[in-house]
Symmetry: C2
Subunit: 474 residues, 2 copies
Amino acid sequence: MPTSEPTIPDVPQSSNPQLAFPCLDNVEERTQRLSRRSMSGPEPSYTTGAHEKFHSGEPILLDWGGVLPSFDIAYETWGTLNADKSNAILLHTGLSASSHAHSTETNPKPGWWERFIGPGAPLDTDKYFVICTNVLGGCYGSTGPSSLDPTSKQPYATSFPILTMQDMVRAQFRLLDGLGIDKLYASVGCSMGGMQSLAAGVLEKDRVSRIVSVSGCARSHPYSIAMRHTQRQVLMADQNWTRTRGNYYNSIPPHQGMKLARQIATITYRSGPEWEKRFGRQRADASRPPALCPDFLIETYLDHAGEKWCLEYDANSLLYVSKAMDLFDLGKGLQDATTQRRRENAGRLQGASSQQGAADACTFVLPDEPYQETESAAEILAGTRDSGAAVDQLSEDLVKGMAPLRDTPTLVLGVASDILFPAFQQREVAETLRKAGNRSVTHVELGEDRSLFGHDTFLLDLEGVGGEIRRFLG
Amino acid sequence: MPTSEPTIPDVPQSSNPQLAFPCLDNVEERTQRLSRRSMSGPEPSYTTGAHEKFHSGEPILLDWGGVLPSFDIAYETWGTLNADKSNAILLHTGLSASSHAHSTETNPKPGWWERFIGPGAPLDTDKYFVICTNVLGGCYGSTGPSSLDPTSKQPYATSFPILTMQDMVRAQFRLLDGLGIDKLYASVGCSMGGMQSLAAGVLEKDRVSRIVSVSGCARSHPYSIAMRHTQRQVLMADQNWTRTRGNYYNSIPPHQGMKLARQIATITYRSGPEWEKRFGRQRADASRPPALCPDFLIETYLDHAGEKWCLEYDANSLLYVSKAMDLFDLGKGLQDATTQRRRENAGRLQGASSQQGAADACTFVLPDEPYQETESAAEILAGTRDSGAAVDQLSEDLVKGMAPLRDTPTLVLGVASDILFPAFQQREVAETLRKAGNRSVTHVELGEDRSLFGHDTFLLDLEGVGGEIRRFLG
């Protein structure tokens, strides 16, 4: 956003007073503040504090043909690796989390899963060696769009290659190689981590003994893609992003776009039932006239969620990692296509630092004739009936794709009030695994009597979620 | 958004190609186009074609203290008003619709409810005289923020006063007075119109014989407020809006913000089940590498929905009308407070054209200590349990508030797949009416076996929705 003053026309006396917009003033003040900071030195890098760092000097080939000449993975551990290195649990994070799942000696700040890890906790550090990483593509110490490209010596920004869940998992297994861990006791994750815990088992079935997938899925569904799409769109519409096409690292970050994106995300993380009881229709100050800026309590809650996050995470990491979630699909069709593509691109690892052909550049252009709305309900109903066979075929594709997990004991946990990863998606995971012949599937669904917190239940419900995990890990 | 060229830094050879962003190029091209148009003459006004116009030379006092010195209501009619003027149906619209519910001689373009109105149709023009208006605050011929303020001779813009559903209904009854219609055969509406059809009955119980409320509610709930909040926020974040604080009428309209807002809205209008079958995980062009711009079919669908709408509706109308929806609550508490406020403000009608005191200006500022997240699930669970009594009190408040409808036959229709006005809200309306002593409540809920189209079902399902209305109207 330009730092110029608002150019509100000088309106003559009007019938009613001009409304005020403190929420916009507030954003503009932050822009001014950041602008001064930006002129006085480089951006601070994103961090949640001290962590270990694994460096791979070997290049990595990504699923869609990109190559990172080298990369870092930030990680933290809790508990002790036993002599035969058989007690390691790899914990996968949600979209924007760091490796700091629990406090450490060097970083005593509480982690994002503080109560779920520790002696006697669900991830019991008396028994297990727990490892958590910041994902590839993130901004908390692992290589991502804000990292320097060793070729250009500039931040990758939007020359960072498209990522997949499997790419992130591949990078994690490089770390496990580095730690000398052949086989995991368990692969555990919630939300995006619930996708990764499954992906890890499919990709490296001989190296994963057990899987815990909480509020995750086997393939993203259109509503989730739509909600992430709007977050990316509002973020990229921030002029600090648009103007630089994502190369904002030497100027002001797109803090307003990030604030807006986080507000939309927050709606998907928490849902109706809890809000109904906690906020209802309360206004923040009922003695004041209504405003177009935040006014109802639920609005100030969303505003605050956006405010406290908008400078805490790298905007491009959000774009790439959220896109990777959209692309997630454990179906056999996509897996085979990816294998084929990786084979064709294998040569890129040799000349890892030489630029790829321009033909690879993403130049997708929208079709001239966009999607046309069908006017008649009858047509649509007829259309959806016809696609029944296609849906069955998709399920078959998923059963084949998840067949590598046939012998892996798996806990699948869902929450009825989750609107982002709805409970039908965890049911799909469990049913698909059973169809694939897996006889050790534990499926738990927390009803609304147990949790009203929607997707975020995994962060909050120590007994409902943690208890199940503890019992499953044994 | 500034019309300057993107300032993408000149990046040296990089490890991977720079991604392209055709969706942003596209928006920037539209800005250029609009900028040329803007310099060559005034903005075209919004219209959906020929309609009748009712002009009230008398001022109107609004619920939150604003005054319009005079106002227009655009309307269209179908069928013939009978001799004793007893066959009139007032049809209320959704948020952004015009009065053009059905084609007319002067405007043969199909209306937004074309198949639901006509000889033998659910709103049978052989029997009824159907009236549809553009709401007060809209932009299709009725007075709204884009209209000239008679005091300033400039567009109201954001000096337009805060509106309520009841204000819109009051303006409609002025039109009915003008037409000499004392009593409606029925007040019918879907979505926002479903709120208004109830509000009309409460406000003017002796003038409304029957009510049809489809996919509406008796009070907005926090999820709906949250979704509308994000739409307002992304719209106001458009630099064409921010820079002018909504006074963009002599420059470029906030078309990008409108496009983003419409995409979010579209998610709430259609929901999961239909999208699953219609779009699934199909990419628009699977032979291309993935992109951060629209890529999956669901994304191109949303993009298109935003594109075709972004210049069709006034941004400030969206802000004011969507805010009026948030404020909707038929509870007795708010009704009484409003009655009291209207009494205190009645004097403003006398000096309708003199500016109100600055003390009324909306200057709400967020509290310094924003809403604090409760860390422990136990605390929240305890908190929500304690609020059980508060929830019961709220229901009691609603029963009292809707008591004026005790003797009004009412059809309440909901759709199980609706995420914007979830089915529990129509159940609430029906139960509240019954608690208030109404013995003529018909409640219908269309299950997922009948409709997968979510909120938009009312536009699509002629038999499921229209059939019920036909049977109810008799």
